[in-house]
């Protein structure tokens, strides 16, 4: 067959530019890696807080995918290839991880429609959105529905009441508690909120640390959630889906500031580990601040971006109006990212190092 073939022309596809080999990576693979890395965190949350998160994940994925498909239809864009990049699924799962596990279903719907429609697709879809969709939706709901959004369950170590799968569904879909239970029996303040309240009541750290909710690193149960997200984050680092700069800079600056204030006044500031293992610090550092679309992209810029988030998290947690601050901090730095990028361009080969 060879000699005849030797004179046949190559197919017309051969006008494409180099490189010609198989590509190393694809967007959907990146997103699937992120989803894979979220699994330990989701499982640990489910272990400590019941079925709520899994139900929320299912609902959020459903709503986000439907919203994305709808907008794509309206924008006359190909629906299936875009859904196939799984970015809407990642947004949905991150959102579900951030909200209370018993959030009414219509708030999840509202959040996902807000995230996909307004924050993502109105700006042009994946890659064009200036804000992290999951965090923008979270903040929107937190401001509009503060009660529902801060109604957290107690971890199962601290309560005898565990919602079954069916009870969780009923609670989320109809707001119906099991007949023999009240919210007071089920819910509990998050460690950050509890700490905040108790410090406002002029308790000192020595006393607070004796509280039943206090664990070894963060709040009981919560510290395991943070560790699970940390493990997922390390997996992402290992698979080179994210780089070390943003998480290290964010956790580093948080650790540094918390450590500094702890040294100055150990009775009124919790130890730095508590900051890292409470709230959304780990989830934020590895999964949210590292959202490539909305983060800084230059190496030095990523260090500044991460460090500033850490500073804001500490400032808002310590002196601000909200117990946790990861979402606010990330959104604030999202606005600053283009400016940071502009001023932190690397020195190009052969241009002489500025250093």
């Amino acid at each position: 067959m060879a000699p005849e073939n030797a004179h046949s022309r190559p197919p017309p596809a051969a006008v494409l530019s180099s490189p010609h080999g198989p590509r190393a990576n694809r967007v959907d693979q990146v997103m699937l890696q992120v989803l894979l890395a979220l699994i330990p965190g989701v499982l640990v949350v489910t272990w400590f807080f019941g079925w709520g998160l899994l139900i929320n994940c299912v609902l959020a994925i459903l709503f986000a995918t439907a919203a994305e498909a709808l907008v794509l239809r309206l924008r006359r864009r190909p629906v299936l290839p875009t859904l196939g990049d799984y970015s809407a699924v990642v947004t949905a799962v991150l959102f579900a991880c951030a909200i209370p596990p018993t959030l009414p279903w219509w708030l999840t719907l509202l959040g996902m429609v807000f995230a996909i429609l307004l924050v993502k697709q109105l700006y042009g879809g994946l890659g064009y959105n200036p804000f992290n969709p999951a965090m923008a939706a979270y903040v929107f709901l937190l401001i509009a529905y503060p009660l529902e959004m801060t109604n957290w369950l107690a971890p199962h170590l601290l309560t005898q009441h565990h919602l079954t799968l069916a009870e969780s569904w009923r609670l989320i879909l109809f707001g119906a508690l099991p007949p023999d239970l009240s919210w007071d029996a089920l819910s509990a303040a998050t460690p950050l909120e509890a700490l905040r309240t108790q410090l406002r009541e002029h308790q000192v750290m020595d006393a607070i640390r004796g509280a039943p909710w206090w664990g070894s690193l963060g709040g009981r149960g919560w510290e395991w959630v943070s560790s699970a997200f940390l493990a997922g984050g390390l997996y992402l680092l290992w698979r080179r889906v994210i780089t070390w700069r943003i998480p290290v800079a964010m956790l580093g600056s948080l650790l540094l500031l918390a450590g500094l204030f702890r040294l100055i006044d150990p009775q009124h500031y919790p130890d730095p580990a508590f900051h890292l293992w409470s709230g959304a610090a780990m989830l934020g550092a590895f999964f949210i601040a590292t959202d490539p679309v909305t983060a800084s992209t230059t190496p030095r810029g990523q260090l500044i971006f991460g460090a500033m988030i850490g500073v804001l998290v500490f400032v808002i947690r310590t002196w601000g109006g909200y117990p946790d601050a990861v979402a606010f901090s990330v959104l604030l730095l999202n606005i600053a990212a283009p400016t940071i990028d502009h001023y932190t361009q690397p020195s190009v080969f052969g241009h002489g190092r500025k250093s």
């Binding site: 190559p10 530019s17 990146v30 490539p292 992209t297 361009q345 690397p346 190009v348 080969f349 241009h351």
Partner: protein
């Protein structure tokens, strides 16, 4: 590895780079084979950077092997030679291996099968004691150009205004698949070393560093053995460098071996370095020591679509179909047919295109080796491109600006420092053809500059014309004014009291009076002469 008594040389790194599947095993074990003569040689007159060669033969001429058929047209140009003996049957435009896919002037020779050499110049074996100008002239005559792909005339690079401290011989061969330099280093190691010595003599360099990626241990061993055989030479060192694409880029290899960065828009000579490819070095040795011009080169024919991949010594001008037929043709219809490697090579549209001096690899990739990357998705700004960029550019920002046709912004992000190595596009999860965007932007900037140059030229011409016309008009006016002044002076002198300018009646009267006076004078003169005649 090079010399056991010397400490391991310090190596530096460059930013980014990629570990790619090297795919060299397909052809690296195939010794170089001499390709039989093709019936037809198509020899482009421009196979190098610079001015095309001037054709020195006519249709119908008999040419001998090694005869100059195109002379170098200027300093930055290179001669081309007949790769075998035969008859010139055409001098016309033919397709050549070029990314543009456009035809260019070629000399077409029907070979006679004799392969008879034309008279060759005498070997210059005693090069150490010869005038360097003579050696450069020989290399210039031999039409040697950079065989690593750059195709810059080598004779130009053999002279430097600045002191050259280090001569780097580039045997990195970092592109996947390509093995021609590997085989050349193994099989012609003596020529490579001789060439290195000649170039070192010419440049007066203190040391020669031969950089070879460590995925070619056989080449490193062969060169080391040849260096040991040819006696102690403390000036030459063979240095294995870590395999990392694109360490074979000139600036990258200089960085790895010397720790210094060639200034942007500058030449290696500015930091006291000269760089030559191993095949070029061997070609210099052939020209000086054997008096042979560059009429053949080693070409790797590879890719899984080729039935029998191998390395061939190919006469310049041989059509690709001839190479392929020798290698058993295609095993399957290739998805892509390339000149060069998968990272920087360009697609070929035809198999009657000839091999040129810079043609290092004919790569036929199957659909599995060059899968369709699919439609480009939106950039998710992941920054992998910036991580792998060996020039520390921000490929993503370049892409946004190139796409928005904001070419001045792209230039502010150092568009022209891009070496088009393809690393960014290779790792892009959105499969955006980034390099294509940069080429597009560069071409647009060049076109804009050309346009601006033309517009400036036209404006200058127009302004010169206007100035000339104004000057001529002024000259005319001043002449007229002078005439008028003279006229005025004479009339004023003739009529005391003067005459108002433009007083036509008065002037006419004056003219009339003058005429009458002249007539009277004439008449008077006539009347006064007549008596003399009569008398």
């Amino acid at each position: 590895m090079s010399r056991p008594d010397l400490p391991t040389p310090q190596l530096w790194t460059f930013h980014g780079g990629l570990h790619l599947p090297d795919e060299k095993a397909l052809s690296s074990d195939q010794p170089i084979e001499l390709l039989p003569l093709p019936p037809l040689l198509i020899i482009p007159l421009r196979q190098h950077i610079g001015a095309p060669a001037r054709p020195g033969v006519r249709v119908g001429d008999q040419v001998g092997k090694g005869q100059v058929i195109g002379t170098a047209d200027g300093y930055v140009s290179a001669a081309v030679h007949a790769s075998s003996s035969g008859t010139v049957i055409a001098i016309e435009e033919r397709l050549i291996p070029h990314p543009s896919g456009l035809p260019a002037p070629c000399v077409v020779i029907a070979t006679d099968g004799q392969d008879a050499w034309a008279p060759l110049p005498a070997p210059l074996t005693d090069y150490r004691h010869l005038d360097p100008a003579l050696l450069r002239e020989r290399v210039h005559w031999a039409g040697v150009v950079g065989l690593g792909g750059g195709a810059f005339p080598t004779s130009v690079k053999l002279r430097s205004e600045r002191h050259i401290e280090t001569l780097i011989i580039n045997g990195a061969e970092c592109e996947p698949y390509i093995t021609c330099d590997d085989r050349l280093m193994r099989e012609r190691s003596v020529q490579v070393l001789e060439g290195a010595r000649i170039i070192r003599t010419l440049l007066g360099a203190e040391r020669v560093l031969i950089g070879i990626e460590d995925n070619k241990p056989a080449a490193i061993a062969a060169l080391s053995a040849a260096l040991a055989d040819t006696g102690p030479d403390t000036h030459i060192r063979i240095i294995p460098v870590p395999t990392l694409y694109p360490s074979g880029g000139e600036r990258q290899l200089i960085r790895i071996l010397t720790g210094r960065e060639v200034p942007t828009r500058g030449l290696p000579a500015q930091i006291g370095v000269a760089c030559q490819n191993v095949a070029t070095t061997a070609a210099v040795a052939d020209a000086v020591l054997l008096g042979r011009p560059l009429i053949a080169r080693v070409v790797t024919v590879t890719g899984r679509a080729v039935a029998r991949p191998g390395n061939l010594t190919v006469p310049i001008g041989t059509p690709l179909s001839h190479l392929l037929a020798y290698c058993g043709g295609f095993r399957e219809v290739p998805r892509r047919l390339l000149c060069g490697g998968p990272m920087m090579g360009f697609t070929l549209s035809d198999l009657e295109i000839p091999v040129t001096k810079a043609f290092n690899c004919l790569l036929a990739l199957t659909a599995a080796e060059a899968p369709d990357p699919g439609p480009a998705l939106a950039c998710i700004r992941c920054g992998r491109c910036a991580e792998v960029c060996p020039v520390r550019l921000l490929p993503q920002q370049l892409y946004w600006h190139a796409r928005a046709k904001a070419f001045d912004r792209a230039q502010a992000y150092n568009l022209f420092d891009c070496i088009e190595c393809g690393c960014c596009a290779q790792v892009c999860p959105s499969h955006i053809p980034l390099v294509q965007y940069y080429r597009f932007a560069k071409n647009a900037v060049w076109a804009q500059e050309e346009e601006r140059r033309k517009a400036d030229q036209a404006r200058a011409r127009h302004q010169a014309r206007q100035a000339r016309q104004a000057r001529l008009e002024q000259e005319r006016q001043s002449k007229l004014r002078k005439k008028r002044e003279i006229l005025d002076e004479t009339t004023a002198a003739a009529v005391p009291g003067g005459v108002a300018d433009g007083d036509l009646d008065a002037r006419r009267a004056l003219i009339e009076a003058a005429k009458q006076r002249a007539a009277a004078k004439k008449a008077a003169a006539q009347s006064s002469t007549e008596p003399v005649d009569q008398g």
